[in-house]
């Protein structure tokens, strides 16, 4: 990035003297190291469990000898490990890194963060073990039993308190869109989690209120936690790597507030034709469609900055992941909005379409952007470069192809199944026969994903724990060698 000082539009161009930067990086090194190491472990575990449960869906006898290994437990284990293990650990790392870098002051209160890190991962282990033991709560993304979740809540509250304090104590008076997004995500989540825990897990509310709160929560995990963090990372990485300002930056104010208002309500997909009050279906469906608007503005900002430098961006590992992630996020928002329309909702509701949608929202877009952030930030923190370009490429293509195969096969299967079942004559088992090949394709998608993740984990470990004789490289590792 050019060293010329920038004005408020791209505030991180003027973070301060180099020694101050070093102090910032040094203060981040240990907490991020721990968080990312855990996230990589949870990612490997989740991918393996996901592959097993994907195979079980088309070959029901596969490894289902006992209750602990049956699909009904492995699928929630997979989703919880993916979301809370990989997504949240990596999300914490990205949030801390963005907050600290953008406020330009070294990270304080390490003890608070280590406590939070410890509580989060121990709580998660207990929660996952609880699901396997049969104590799961029957609600999407809230399956972890009530005796594990208070630990998660305490851990989260500590991190959120820390993040809000970091923003309040920032030394520069300017603020940037990434800071607002991270601030909002950090602040929102403990409230949502507390509300959902109280009304669904600890003291279940009456009847379908549980379903309403679960739908509200499960959507909020994507819209109020993962998506703001992913967008914040994209708003940081794209100008940082390209050395360009965000185009049409003034639009981000409007888009941010629109996003804040709309995203809190965008949970329509859980309530289509459900036994809930009609206004709940209407309002949430409208919000789910309206969500396109702020996302479109953010995308205009990001893509118009990216496109003039496309080849440079595609050559940078972090930006290539970010671009792919943005593509998946955009597809997710559109695919979700499409589900709100009469006709398509009739076809896709209750079909495998929603599995494709979940995967695209919870894994595809967000994880790709987190990977991009990790590829960018780790070499800076550790002052070492990634070792293997081929591993990076394997990771990129494995994750992208796996994600595409999984989500597209599920969406196609969903529409095919729904179109068949819209007619009362074909039997349910006819529909199952139709989706069978697509479910097999999904398992192949998981194998691709696994290949990609194994490459990532190997490369990651070699960066974290270098061998002494390893060559030291000073320039950043790119996809194509720089001229």
């Amino acid at each position: 990035m050019s060293s010329e000082p920038r004005k408020s539009l791209c505030p991180f161009g003027v973070v301060g003297a180099p020694h101050q930067l070093d102090a910032v990086n040094a203060s981040l090194r240990e907490p991020l190291f721990l968080l990312l190491l855990s996230s990589a472990k949870w990612l490997s575990f989740a991918t393996l469990v996901g592959l097993v449960s994907a195979i079980q869906l088309h070959t029901p006898d596969f490894l289902s000898y006992c209750a602990y290994m049956s699909y009904g437990r492995l699928e929630p284990v997979f989703m919880n490990a993916l979301v809370y293990g990989w997504g949240f650990n990596a999300g914490f790392a990205v949030a801390l890194w963005l907050m600290v870098r953008l406020s330009g002051t070294p990270l304080r209160a390490h003890a608070l963060l280590f406590t939070a890190y410890f509580f989060w991962n121990v709580g998660l282990l207990i929660g996952i073990a609880g699901i396997i033991a049969g104590d799961q709560v029957p609600a999407s993304l809230l399956e972890m039993p009530g005796y594990a979740t208070p630990l998660l809540f305490i851990a989260y509250a500590l991190i959120a308190v820390w993040g809000v304090l970091a923003y309040a104590r920032r030394e520069r008076s300017t603020s940037y869109i990434s800071q607002w997004l991270v601030f909002a995500a950090l602040f929102w989540f403990p409230w949502i989690y507390a509300a959902a825990q109280a009304m669904v897990v600890q003291a279940p509310a009456v009847g379908v209120v549980q379903h309403i709160v679960t739908g509200w929560y499960a959507s909020a995990v994507i819209h109020l936690w993962f998506m703001p963090l992913a967008l914040a990372a994209a708003f940081y990485l794209i100008p940082r790597v390209l050395g360009e300002r965000i185009r049409f930056y003034y639009l981000t104010h409007f888009a941010f507030w629109l996003y804040v208002v709309v995203a809190c309500w965008a949970c329509g997909r859980y309530f289509i034709a459900a036994p809930v009050p009609a206004w709940v279906m209407t309002v949430t469906a409208v919000a789910s469609v309206l969500l396109i608007l702020p996302c479109a503005i953010f995308f205009i900002n990001l893509l118009s900055t990216l496109m003039p430098h496309f080849s440079k961006a595609a050559n940078s590992p972090s930006l290539r992941f970010v671009m792919t992630g943005l593509l998946f996020l955009g597809l997710y928002v559109l695919a979700q909005a499409a589900m709100m329309f009469r006709g398509l909702n009739e076809l896709t509701q209750f079909t495998f379409y929603i599995k494709g949608l979940d995967m695209m929202g919870l894994y595809g877009g967000v994880s790709m952007i987190f990977f991009g952030a990790i590829y960018f930030l780790l070499p800076k923190l550790l002052e070492r470069q990634w070792l293997s370009t081929s591993m990076m490429k394997t990771h990129y293509w494995g994750a992208t192809a796996g994600m595409l195969v999984i989500s597209v096969s599920m969406m196609v299967a969903g529409v095919a199944e729904g179109s068949l079942l819209a007619n009362p004559d074909p039997s349910f088992s006819d529909a199952l026969r139709i989706v069978q090949p697509w479910l097999q394709a999904r398992s192949y998608g998981f194998i691709l994903l696994l290949i990609g993740h194994v490459a990532f984990v190997i490369n990651f470990h070699r960066l974290l724990f270098p061998l002494s004789q390893q060559r030291t490289q000073t320039h950043p590792t790119l996809f194509e060698a720089a001229e």
Binding site: L57, P60, A139, A195, W216, A273
Partner: protein, 223 residues
């Protein structure tokens, strides 16, 4: 540019608004629903001894709901019937009317579900009332549905060796004479007996029925 209090108040207000609307308002309005006699309450309270709907489950069936959750049945089965003009739920006899909020007020944990990898179960107690049929389906779903994706729950059953000259226990499962080619069962000289969990689960499934009329969801007889 963006002072902290404005940011703070703005994002808090947006979230509080959606929580109030979706969680709190529904908690109050749906919380006011009571079980009522079939067809509704005619001017005043119901009489003593009248059957109220939705009906209270037996203790065994309530334990069955816990078993249902524990094995993640809700990950593949919904328990909600859509309205007549929405999909073919009623045409394919998943229920006689759409499900409404009152149907679920007695459930400790509501398991509406989001995916139908298997059929809807809101009225399985009406569609499949016979216990043996449900047990066989749990033991291995492909005995009756060769294309089913349902995993075998044979670990919910106990295998007893049959003693020569003695009849099989009364509770033993009765399998059809002809099994599909894809299903291989080793049942020679053995009696398959449901465990306590399996009995509770089947009692729960048998209790799943929304076949009564509520004022907000009338059953329309088709010509």
């Amino acid at each position: 540019m963006k002072p902290l209090p404005i940011l703070f108040v703005g994002i808090f207000a947006a979230l509080a608004f959606s929580w109030t609307g979706l969680a709190l308002v529904n908690h109050i309005t749906i919380g006011q629903l009571d079980p009522i006699p079939e067809g509704g309450v005619e001017a005043g309270a119901s009489t003593i001894g009248e059957v109220l709907y939705p009906r209270q489950r037996s203790g065994l069936a309530q334990h069955g709901a816990v078993v249902y959750a524990e094995h993640g049945c809700y990950t593949c089965h919904t328990q909600q019937v859509r309205a007549r003009d929405m999909g073919s739920d009623i045409a394919r006899n998943l229920g006689v009317r759409q499900s409404v909020a009152r149907d679920y007020i007695r459930e400790a944990r509501t398991m509406l579900g989001t995916l139908r990898a298997g059929p809807d179960l809101a009225n399985i107690g009406v569609r499949m009332p016979e216990a043996n049929r449900l047990y066989v389906h749990l033991y291995n779903a492909r005995i009756h549905e060769p294309h089913s994706m349902m995993p075998p729950y044979d670990f919910l059953f106990e295998k007893h060796a049959l003693e020569a000259g003695k009849p099989a226990p009364e509770t033993a499962l009765v399998f059809p004479d002809e099994l599909p080619e894809t299903v291989v069962l080793d049942l020679q000289g053995k009696a398959i007996v449901p465990s306590d969990d399996a009995r509770a689960l089947v009692a729960y499934l048998q209790s799943l029925s929304q076949g009564y009329t509520l004022p907000e969801a009338a059953i329309i007889e088709e010509e």
